[in-house]
Symmetry: C2
Subunit: 716 residues, 2 copies
């Protein structure tokens, strides 16, 4: 049941690179000889390959999974339909183009749905489901909000329309109702504040009151209400989802227990041998020591077998990240004991482990920061930079000398890895740069850029040495995986909007390089943009001509500022109704998705602030302590990474290893392998660990969790 | 102990109206003859009167309160010091001006502190204390955020500084470190996006990545973290404050119990007579029926006396808003029973109470909205408007006919009042307008504006008829009082910044009316602004020349958009370091106060979503039901206002009054008299109602709650 089902390896859909100039693309069938046609051919071929891969995967699934189950899962049906539609679209497009008609590749909008519907897109699917469920509530607030905007617009029309005021561009001010609605909608996003208010304000101070009330109600109160509603609903449905997921997991574990159980006295139990076999099957790479530790947590009373409750915990236990630390002597100590244990060597070690060593290097970094700020073309400063690099290298070598290298470079020593990689890369880049300079007097701008960036990244280490900062950064790093889920969500939504945008606006606005002398440059290659604000702001490169610039443009629209200017450019080259596209984007991305993002960051921070470790974790920790396998841990921030770096003694230094056992465990307290772990913890307070009452009330109508035996179950 | 201490009546400090032109103000002592001097004189006199009022109040307090207590209270000391400093400042200013020196009225910055420190400023004081306590946490995040900005600036300097790029205005792009820091700080506020990125983006698409990462980290993640930290800390300290307040209240109630108690059997109790006397003293305007109801809740078992726990509840009980509804027959029924009870009259009543009546009027309102949108100068449309007004009047009259007028206009019928006032005012304004028109053909623009606004406000009623919308609006109305607390907070902070801004920038930028032909108009009267973006955007009226325009300008800065342009104007006319003022304002208002505002709206909404009625409220409600005094209440939204409007039967209609008792009670469930009530409810879950263990652990070192017997205790 827990067996991993390996999915066929495949790559992501590559966004097709459309030609930058976007001039009159003529598609001329598969045997086209033009450059554009070739690009089209290439993307078509890539698309076919991708579709073939998805089809292969679907066929593979269909063979593995019972037929009725396969067709009951909406995910599979969805993928099947999308593949079919894409093929139909490709054929229609090819035929239409070959016969010289205008055709739209509408199936491109469907592509992200493939990403959502594959098994690995579980997080994404859950996020989408949460949004879908929260929509009705959001809709009511949105309607009320729009009613308020419409009312204020009507008021603005009546108050300002007949006064003959002019905007700064000399256009009549607030005379057309639909224009007013758009302008006031833009004011909600604050993008045209205070410009939109100035004509009225210049006329009379009392008119400013209208705008102040408008901003207070629609920008501050309604936007906060949106956040509250999105936050509340998202949390509610996510909680429900997580609850269902946990119940499904427990249900499966109970069934597994039913298969493996044997009678011993009154209660059904699972023996240690059977349990060991299972764990080895599920996680082949688990160490024996770790497995024994988990068993001793499950079988708290040393009975040699475990009951149902303890068995069901197994999945969660495996989910807790336990760090094994082999306490080993320094290699130099074994190879050259006389030298390494001599008093000068001991002095060096003590020096490196002293607080002053850290402070010295903090000071060096700060001095370095000043030097970086100075002009690097001065040869003196260039030489000083070499000196700094040597100092950083020396630091790493000294640390490697006094700490056990394998502990220093263990998997969880993020900052050590960070330092070393940065310093080594900087060294390599600087050497290459110098070599280039010496050989031909030529300096590669790219390499120099890399050198600069690396040099500055080194400065981040100062922050790492301040405890409070580290706590904040660690929280941020912890919520990183979740932010990535939102990254996927954003990419999917962006992709859909980018595809629609490319169909609507491709080639309408063109960008000319800085050294171009084309007279069209002043108006982005489109006479309709002559003297427009869009062209004046030099926004020509913000266009929908290819996927990359579309994504950057959509990001700018997400940031909101100047989005009315950006949209004005596209409405000028097409039609006023193109505004709908931009308003819709604002509603979907800024009002819904960004608010969910903020809600998640808030929630994650509150969890960090308030929730203590889960019961399971603390019982695991107690067991580690009980068995005296624990690493002495200053509970500074309750965080492992901190403790490992501040308690220098832990790292297997030459002096303190004698009394300790050779193998030690530590729990990476608050770090979770998966987002599910974090979610489960967020809503843990509401989940009863003993509650798996054969799931009578588990909803069998929800097919998303039950119908398909989850192939990636082991990572839950 | 609970006696109200009446404070001397006094008015708020009036912000002085400085002369608009701000040209060379010369202060020439009290006997000055110039216009400016006269304004100054007037404000000085007003200020003296205000100071005298505050002094009188302070002296009054000092007489009433024991001396050692008076001087232990920091509030009194603070007021004393401020009055003293203001006087010293006024004298210094007068002397300096009289002898021709430049002088600054620095004490004006202190004025808002008077508002904070008077007894009535309790909510405000609490908000400030919460902010002060949350500051350290915010500071750490802020330092980390600034570190990130500085690092990115350094990177930008190295990446773009040597590339010879130009901004759209032709200035060198990213060459000065401090300029970069400012530009990137502005980018965090999104005010200069995407302009700041365009030169680099035009150069290479890869440079866009730099800005995307920057925006992601600093705008999205850090700003969310700010919200999280502000939210969390504010909530934490507010909770602590409320806990202390509740404990202090209970402490006082326990002491009151100690004074009033008498022995009866084992336990000390308070008799009903004594209790009645107390309630009558504390709330003289409470009705006997209401008092008896409260007693029957406290003395649940009809023992004729109550114990300590029940006694302590008194303050909270008095805080629950109970609406008494006298069920009276319609006056027409008593005066003209034969007519009112005739079948046509009954038909009218039934018609008005029918759902279709509401729908008909919704339709009328929508048609009216369309007519409002049309050109009102068309005589046909003007006449149609009269028809609509008659229809609205008819609606009110019909409702008054079928419902009991006193119930219709009872204190809590917000929407009935709203309708009637709007319709009547519109009628009066239209009559005045027509009269003016007929008499001299002259139309008053102001009256017409009022007519338009009233006409549009009438449309809000459509929303009220949709249940879901009403629920949202009611929540917003409920958090209204708290928003007002934030209003005070904002006013205090704005006032301080306005005073500093006026000292720094007064008269530097001038506004010319639209019909002015002054050549200085093009650059706001200051040659330093020639060809500046500030002048081009026509921002001249955004200045610090008087308190009103300062407040409007600060509001525009709060909205954030274009704040860099606004600040650029003021730095151009003074010095580059004036940026500090604007950055500081952004940090204080946008990062801290607006986030607290958002946090409060979020919290209030979550409370509305999750928390049920308090125990005390439900026991009161149970008692009302038990005594069969309750109004049958459809629990639609759990809200009274809804219920009263949808259950038309409740309003004492002609038919359904017979079976009901003459007096009925209702709890205004979720509405609180004071902000304290809402706060207490927000944190109620953590407060044990039986926990008043003589307050051994009550902190006597905190003087804010104990030292000063709160004169407004009865309103808590």
């Amino acid at each position: 049941m827990l067996k991993t089902m390996s999915a066929p390896d495949e790559k992501e859909i590559t966004p097709e690179e459309a030609p930058e100039n976007g001039k009159g693309i003529t598609y001329s069938g598969n045997k086209s000889e033009t450059v554009n046609g070739k690009t089209k051919d290439a993307t078509s071929v890539i698309e076919l390959v991708c579709l073939a891969a998805f089809t292969a995967r679907l066929v593979h699934y269909a063979k593995v999974i019972p037929r009725e189950r396969f067709w009951k899962d909406p995910k599979n049906i969805c993928i099947f339909v999308i593949i079919l539609l894409s093929l139909v679209d490709m054929i229609i497009y090819g035929v239409l183009k070959a016969s010289g008609f205008y055709a739209v590749r509408w199936s491109r909008v469907l592509r992200p749905l493939l990403l959502v519907n594959i098994t690995e897109g579980r997080q994404l699917r859950r996020a989408f489901r949460s949004i879908r469920n929260a929509l009705p509530q959001i809709l009511y607030v949105f309607l009320l909000f729009m009613f308020s905007v419409l009312m204020f617009s009507l008021m603005a029309l009546k108050l300002f329309g007949k006064r003959g005021l002019k905007t700064i561009e000399g256009r009549p001010y607030f005379t057309n109702y639909l224009e007013i609605v758009f302008d006031l909608y833009v004011l909600v996003t604050t993008a045209n504040s205070p410009d939109i208010m100035m004509p009225a304000y210049n006329f009379s101070v009392f008119f400013a009151v209208f705008f102040i009330i408008y901003i207070l109600i629609n920008t501050y109160i309604f936007m906060s209400v949106f956040l509250a509603v999105v936050y509340n609903n998202y949390k509610k449905y996510l909680k429900e989802e997580v609850r269902k997921l946990v119940r499904a997991k427990r249900h499966k574990m109970v069934r597994a227990f039913g298969v493996l159980q044997e009678r011993k006295g009154e209660e059904p139990v699972v023996s240690q041998a059977c349990w060991n076999q299972l764990v080895r099957l599920v996680q082949p790479d688990i160490s024996n020591a770790h497995r024994e530790l988990l068993w001793s947590v499950s079988d708290d009373n040393n009975k040699g077998c475990i009951g149902k409750v303890a068995f069901v915990q197994l999945a969660d236990l495996l989910n807790i990240q336990v760090i094994m630390m082999k306490s080993r002597p320094h290699p130099l100590k074994t190879w050259l004991p006389s030298l390494y244990l001599s008093s000068p060597s001991r002095l060096v070690c003590r020096m490196v482990q002293h607080r002053a060593f850290v402070y010295t290097y903090d000071l060096i970094i700060l001095v370095n920061a000043v030097f970086i700020g100075l002009d690097e073309e001065d040869p003196l400063i260039a030489n000083v930079e070499w000196a700094f690099l040597v100092l950083y290298l020396l630091e790493i070598l000294l640390k490697l000398y006094s700490f056990e290298p394998r502990a220093f470079f263990s998997r969880h020593q993020f900052w050590n890895w960070f330092d070393t990689i940065i310093v080594i890369t900087a060294l390599i880049a600087m050497i290459i740069n110098s070599a280039l300079k010496l050989s031909g007097g030529y300096t590669s701008r790219q390499i120099l850029d890399i050198v600069f960036i690396l040099r500055i990244l080194r400065l981040i280490r100062v922050v790492d040495n301040i405890k409070r900062f580290r706590a904040i950064i660690n929280t941020l790093i912890k919520i990183g995986p979740t932010i990535l889920t939102f990254g996927q969500l954003i990419v999917v939504v962006y992709y859909i909007f980018a595809m629609v945008g490319m169909e609507l606006f491709k080639g309408k606005i063109r960008f000319f390089e800085a050294n171009s002398t084309d007279p069209d440059k002043a108006f982005c290659g489109n006479p309709l943009l002559k003297n427009s604000v869009f062209a004046k702001h030099n926004y020509c490169k913000n266009n929908f001509n290819n996927v990359v610039s579309s994504f950057i443009l959509l990001l700018e629209l997400t940031v909101v500022n100047q989005w009315h200017v950006l949209s004005s450019g596209f409405t000028a080259v097409t039609h006023i109704s193109a505004r709908m596209f931009f308003v819709l984007f604002h509603i979907v991305v800024v009002i819904i998705i960004i608010n969910i993002f903020i809600a998640f960051v808030l929630e994650a921070f509150f969890v960090e602030y308030t929730v203590d470790q889960s019961n399971l974790q603390s019982s695991l920790e107690n067991k580690i302590e009980e068995l005296e396998l624990g690493v002495k841990q200053e509970k500074l921030d309750g965080n492992l990474v901190d403790a490992m770096e501040t308690n220098d003694n832990d790292m297997g230094t030459s002096e303190s290893t004698k009394e300790k056992p050779a193998l030690m465990f530590k729990i990476a307290c608050k770090r979770y392998k998966t987002v599910d772990g974090l979610l489960q913890r967020m809503f843990e307070a509401d989940l009863d660990p003993e509650d798996f009452a054969e799931d009578e009330d588990f909803d069998p109508n929800n097919p998303s969790n039950l119908n398909f035996p989850n192939p990636t179950f082991d990572s839950v």
